[in-house]
């Protein structure tokens, strides 16, 4: 069995990053939809340590963590549509900013979504500060990857659909076109790329996904009190 399988769900943006990469490279794959409240034996077997999606299964071997999967896909299918920059320094910048996106931009956006009252204003400011840094990175470029999208574009890609969903669930605005014109412009170009567009879930699915998660967290907090 040499096929490519992705364990995941298309409402989860780390999973969609992987689908985008495979589509851009023209790799056929099968999605195995996971129910995160009732994880399949296959998922638990393939990712026993973190028990999370996405998992890429290639030649029966599992690769986990979306950023690692992107690099793996780029190294295996290296002749089609390179994702990482060629120059080692540009590569290091892409990795640095990818880490920043996942550790700071995503985390602060979630914090802002979850926060209430006074804390919410503080959290919103923190989230916007991370977007400001990202805005500076896209200055003078069409895409983070240059003239074509690359690794970093796929990593930032969640802001085109999942960030509006987070904003909706959190009752707030983070990425508005007047404060972040360059990032906003980037999202408009990004979503119109066919391979990107084809893998987007309906926005309601992303909203549901975050709303369910938030309700669950709030119920946990309530039961602790």
């Amino acid at each position: 069995m040499g096929g490519v399988k992705v364990l995941g769900l298309n409402s989860s943006f780390p999973c969609v990053r992987v689908l985008w990469a495979l589509k851009l490279k023209g790799v056929n794959y099968e999605i195995v939809e996971e129910n995160l409240l009732n994880k399949s034996p296959l998922l638990l077997q393939m990712n026993p340590i973190h028990k999370k999606v996405p998992v890429l299964i290639h030649k029966d071997k599992p690769i986990v963590e979306s950023l690692l999967i992107l690099e793996y896909i780029d190294e295996v299918w290296k002749t089609t549509y390179p994702l990482m920059p060629e120059d080692p320094y540009d590569c290091s910048m892409a990795r640095f900013w990818a880490k920043f996106v996942d550790e700071k931009v995503v985390v602060t956006a979630f914090e802002a979504m979850k926060s209430e009252g006074e804390g919410k204003e503080v959290a919103i400011v923190a989230a916007k500060e991370t977007l400001e840094l990202l805005e500076k990175q896209i200055e003078g470029k069409k895409f983070f990857g240059g003239d074509e999208i690359g690794y970093l574009d796929l990593v930032v890609g969640w802001i085109c659909l999942w960030l509006p969903a987070i904003e909706q669930v959190g009752g707030m605005k983070l990425l508005d076109s007047s404060t972040f014109p360059l990032l906003y412009q980037w999202t408009q170009c990004f979503v119109h790329i066919p391979a990107i567009h084809e893998c987007l879930p309906p926005r309601e699915k992303a909203v549901d996904y975050f709303q369910t998660g938030l309700n669950y967290l709030r119920s946990l907090d309530a039961s602790k009190k």
Partner: protein, 226 residues
Amino acid sequence: MEEIPNKLRLYGTEASPYVRRVIWALKIKGIEYDFVQEDLSNKSPSLLRYNPINKTVPVLVHAGKAIAESVVILEYIEETWPDPTPLLPEHPYERAMARFWIAYGDQKQHHVFHSFLACSEEGKEKAAKDLMEMLKIVQDEALGDQKFFGGNTLSLVDLCYGWLTSLKYVERVVGVRVLEPTTLPKLHRWMQDFSEEPLVKENLPDLEAKLPELETLRKHLMSTNK
């Protein structure tokens, strides 16, 4: 300090395990560099200029271009100077696994290590047990029966778990043992073999002198942990 084109400069501290892994990579690959000792309570203008986002060490400056984040730096070193001593496997799957274990160690290390150092007297057995459980996964799943994480030779994974050579100082300060031949035999043996590798041995951090600082840090963390 004047800029010297094409020269390598590493901004760091003696005690940081994130800096140490970069030093080991450069030494193993035989790459010359200048080391700039930073005082993190009084960061130099150069450091803040080269790493305005995270404002911390390590930062590697090569031909005037700055790279921050230790794992990003290690990958850059590997890509720029792959031969004659590669520190990542060639096969994409093996590379992905190496990167996985580096990420796992860094995620867990930060959390568990700080919990361990900050634990109360009553909580120290549990804190030690948590750290041991995390290390057991690394021992059984990543190291197995290999001499090093990289097989017969060192890899970036070995360098990124190199902080285990300094765990004894934390064990001393907290007053409980974790990494022992009886508790984690294969990992303990790895730690000794790793420490004996010539380029590692010559470049181990001098932490004996830092013990009083570590004790102070523990007291501070314990008091803020309540």
